[in-house]
């Protein structure tokens, strides 16, 4: 029957879209639903007019924080009144991120074939703000050699640390007993790194949100950053065209659709019913489809034997019934006591390009990879007057180079992670915006500004954990410019296996093959029969 599926996926966020594509490719009948009229959910990429519409539905006046909610909530605190011309030429991401060149996300992009749907380019140099200036972040031997602002002894120590961090440090003597001490202490004790260099490592190689994050987790992040350098160029990250995240989520949805997935956008989920088997008077008694999802303005409910949902789309009345899929220890936000409860964000469109003077590269050396308008800047805690003393602020720019803005315009995304909810994103981020715009010459002028607060659930929600179930909730995705793409891919992989176990329990699948092999026989034609 047309309305019966193996799995219904709720929410077209990045993680769910990857899962849907993998499940469809594995031969399941997938229906993918999103109440929004656009793909991507919390990672969506919107045009300027779509963003303004979105902002209008989330303004301060109609906002009350629901403390127990499992959804990500938004509170728009300031919006420039006028919409700019050519508004459809802007691709603005609600969760800007970069793609590590080595990692589960890029592997998924390649193995699924979704990489072919989009274009990518290298992120430009990463800069760190220090003492009123923007300095390049040394990522490898060559850039350390060229950087004349680092004293010789520090170069040696930093190189020694980088060699350590890019290898297998888990059982190393330097780390024993120190896995949970604050990272800056570890760098000082075990590698005698000075404060300036330690800041670079903590905030621009490990991309920590706050000072004092623990060593082992930070080391993992440094290692994945170092291992990504050099694959496509000196930068460890790629950026997607057309605003990145939402475009890529859409690509995965397209892949799911190509494999038979059914998509329904823009319809609110009015009800989800669990059909207990053998309930009296139920004329679908023969049907083994347990879940019934009803949508507004949609004639018949959709039925499936399994549900996969993002945390935001689980109705409250079913919260206890659903099973949370656990994250691995490495990326679990609740493992550390530095849980991010909110993020101050802003999206600014400026006239002209945002360029940063390169201060410590050698003058003899031309910038061989061409000027990129995609830049990542880190403001460590305490680096800016009137800025935050505890949070690290990330700035990601985008421009015509990635088709994210029309010629002559640039987009600046700022984000500041917060321990506590409350406050004005405009007050918090204005000093950083001013620092970014004052360095370009002539000073880039802001044409449009949107300031908002993003609130994350304070708990992991109720529900059972770890039990095989047919109602799975994917782990919450914390926005994190360098990491969220890989986290989304990891969450998607776990969700895939949970759903597969539920829907095809008898099927034995090799987990080493990954989630993109075709389970259905029939697609082995590309292998050459003759070696």
């Amino acid at each position: 029957m047309e309305n019966e599926f193996d799995v219904i996926v709720l929410g077209t966020g990045l993680s769910e879209s990857i899962s849907a594509a993998a499940l469809a490719r594995a031969g399941l009948k997938v229906a993918h639903i999103d109440p929004n009229a656009y793909y991507g959910a919390d990672e969506a990429t919107l045009t300027l007019d779509e963003l303004c519409q979105w902002a209008d539905t989330h303004t301060s006046s109609n906002f009350t924080l629901e403390r127990e909610s499992q959804s990500i909530q938004y509170q728009v605190q300031y919006r420039s009144p006028d919409i700019l011309p050519h508004s459809k030429q802007y691709s603005l991401s609600l969760s800007p991120s970069v793609i590590p060149s080595v990692g589960p996300f890029i592997s998924s992009l390649v193995s699924s074939g979704v990489a072919r749907y989009g274009s990518f380019k290298l992120l430009g140099p990463v800069s760190l703000y220090h003492d009123g200036q923007f300095t390049s972040v040394p990522q490898n031997k060559e850039s350390i050699f060229q950087d004349r602002t680092i004293p010789l002894i520090e170069k040696r120590r930093l190189m020694r640390f980088l060699m350590f961090a890019s290898g297998d440090f888990e059982n190393s003597p330097e780390l024993q007993g120190k896995e949970n001490i604050p990272f800056d202490e570890f760098l000082r004790q075990s590698f005698s790194l000075g404060e300036n260099i330690a800041q670079v490592v903590i905030f621009a190689l490990a991309y920590c949100n706050f000072s004092g994050e623990s060593t082992l987790m930070a080391l993992h992040r440094v290692r994945s950053c170092l291992r990504s350098t050099g694959r496509y160029g000196s930068s460890p990250f790629l950026v997607g065209y057309y605003g990145g995240s939402g475009e890529i989520a859409q690509g995965f949805c397209r892949s799911a659709a190509v494999n038979g997935g059914v998509y329904i956008l823009g319809r609110r989920i009015s009800n989800i019913v669990i059909n207990e088997p053998l309930s009296p008077g139920d004329h679908d008694q023969e049907s083994s489809y347990r879940y019934s999802v009803e949508l507004d303005d949609f004639p018949d409910p959709l039925r499936s034997s399994c549900l996969l949902s993002s945390p935001s789309h689980v109705p409250d009345y079913l919260r206890l019934h659903a099973t949370r899929i656990p994250t691995s220890d490495n990326c679990s936000p609740s493992a550390s006591h530095h849980r991010v409860l909110a993020m101050a964000r802003c999206i600014v469109i400026v006239d002209g390009a945002v360029s940063l003077p390169r201060l410590n590269g050698s003058d003899d050396v031309p910038h061989s990879e061409g000027e990129s308008d995609s830049l990542l800047v880190v403001f460590p805690p305490g680096s800016l007057n009137h800025g935050s003393m505890i949070s690290s602020v990330h700035v990601l720019t985008a421009g015509p180079g990635t088709m994210s803005a029309p010629t002559g315009k640039s987009i600046v995304h700022l984000s500041m992670p917060l321990y506590e909810r409350g406050g004005s994103s405009k007050d918090l981020l204005d000093p950083y915006l001013a620092a970014m715009l004052s360095t370009s010459s002539p000073s880039a002028k802001p044409l449009f500004q949107l300031f908002y607060m993003q609130y994350f659930p304070s708990t992991d929600g109720g529900g059972r954990a770890g039990v095989t179930s047919d109602f799975c909730v994917s782990p919450a995705l914390q926005p994190d410019i360098p990491q969220s793409a890989d986290h989304a891919a990891q969450h998607a992989e776990r969700s895939f296996w949970h759903v597969m176990q539920s829907v095809r329990p008898g099927l034995s699948l090799e987990k080493e093959q990954g989630i993109w092999t075709n389970v259905d026989i029939g697609n082995i034609g590309d292998e050459d029969p003759e070696w």
Binding site: L152, R156, S362
Partner: protein
């Protein structure tokens, strides 16, 4: 090829392959015989010229045929061609050999052929009734671009570096040496583990020094600074150490020697297992002992301590350290 399984081949398949190869072998042998007999007969015709091209495409290392080809050009084609036709022919040769180089980048005979072609480009074209150097300049400039492209692809191809020196020397209009310095700086910055780049740098400096164009104080200071950056970033990289030895030279400058010893001692303090640090310290301290402070017991003892340590960490070369210690 690695990791490619060879399927079990049937007798028939093996036979078929041998047949195909046999015909290729006989084709090759027939072609070779044809060309060699033409050569013996001093055949300078266009047909002979074309045959050499076929043969060289199959086997670019057959240097006799390259020689023959050049002789055909000299004896058969050039005498009946205008300078412009000669220029075009040689330009063609360069294009053909560029393609051959992409497949065989290290075959000496192809490089040789290019040299010969470049050296035989006639003066021209005529400008204001006088033969200009434009053809030559254009070909040599293009040659420099080709070799620099090869160096971009593999910055440690020492044949290419050598060839580049030859091209620079042959340019009709010489480039300033300072621009060459900048080129080596670029290559070293891209990867300082590049012995050829450091070596080229030393050659540029030598020639600038001989021409009296170097500041005797400023240049060494800046160069030591540059090499210190390399040493501290990676003390295991030997190209930088060898350049450092060249900078020290004969060791006549005592102040310089002492400064450098201090720098290296500091590095050794940071990286106590660095073999190169210890080895260099022994070398430089011995220079000091020899040239400036012959009686110093302190320096002598330092050398012996270092040599002992070296014998421990680099036991394959134990005897060498013991021998140095003995004298």
């Amino acid at each position: 090829m690695h990791n490619v399984k060879r399927g079990p081949q049937s007798q028939a398949a093996i036979q078929a392959r041998k047949e195909r190869e046999r015909s290729k072998i006989s084709e090759y042998l027939a072609l070779t015989e044809d060309v060699i007999s033409r050569k013996k007969a001093s055949d300078w015709s266009q047909e002979a010229f074309d045959q050499t091209q076929h043969l060289l495409q199959l086997n670019p290392e057959f240097y006799t045929i390259w020689n023959y080809r050049r002789n055909i050009m000299l004896n058969g084609i050039f005498p009946r061609s205008t300078p412009e036709e000669i220029n075009n022919l040689l330009a063609n040769e360069l294009v053909m050999t560029t393609t051959a180089l992409k497949a065989h980048p290290k075959v000496y005979w192809i490089w040789n052929h290019r040299r010969w072609c470049l050296e035989n480009v006639p003066d021209g074209p005529a400008v204001d009734d006088q033969p200009s150097l434009q053809w030559r300049k254009a070909n040599w400039d293009r040659e420099l671009a080709v070799v620099e492209k090869m160096l971009d692809a593999d910055a440690r191809n020492f044949q290419a570096w050598n060839y580049r020196r030859y091209v620079l020397a042959s340019l009709p209009v010489q480039r300033p040496e300072t621009s060459d310095l900048a080129y080596t700086t670029r290559k070293i910055s891209a990867s300082f583990s590049n012995f050829s780049a450091w070596h080229q740098r030393s050659k540029v400096y030598s020639s600038l020094w001989n021409a009296g164009q170097l500041d005797p104080y400023l240049m060494p200071t800046k160069e030591f600074e540059l090499v210190h950056n390399a040493l501290y970033t990676d003390p295991d990289d030997q190209s930088a150490w060898i350049y450092h030895r060249w900078l020290i030279g004969s060791g006549d400058n005592m102040e310089q020697l002492q400064q450098e010893v201090a720098v290296i001692e500091e590095l050794l303090g940071e990286q106590p297992d660095s073999k190169w640090c210890m080895d260099s310290l022994v070398y430089y301290n011995r220079l000091i002992l020899e040239k400036h402070r012959p009686g110093s017991e302190e320096l002598r003892q330092r050398c012996l301590d270092l040599l002992q340590e070296l014998a421990n960490i680099d036991s394959p070369r134990k005897l060498r350290y013991q021998e140095i210690g003995g004298c």
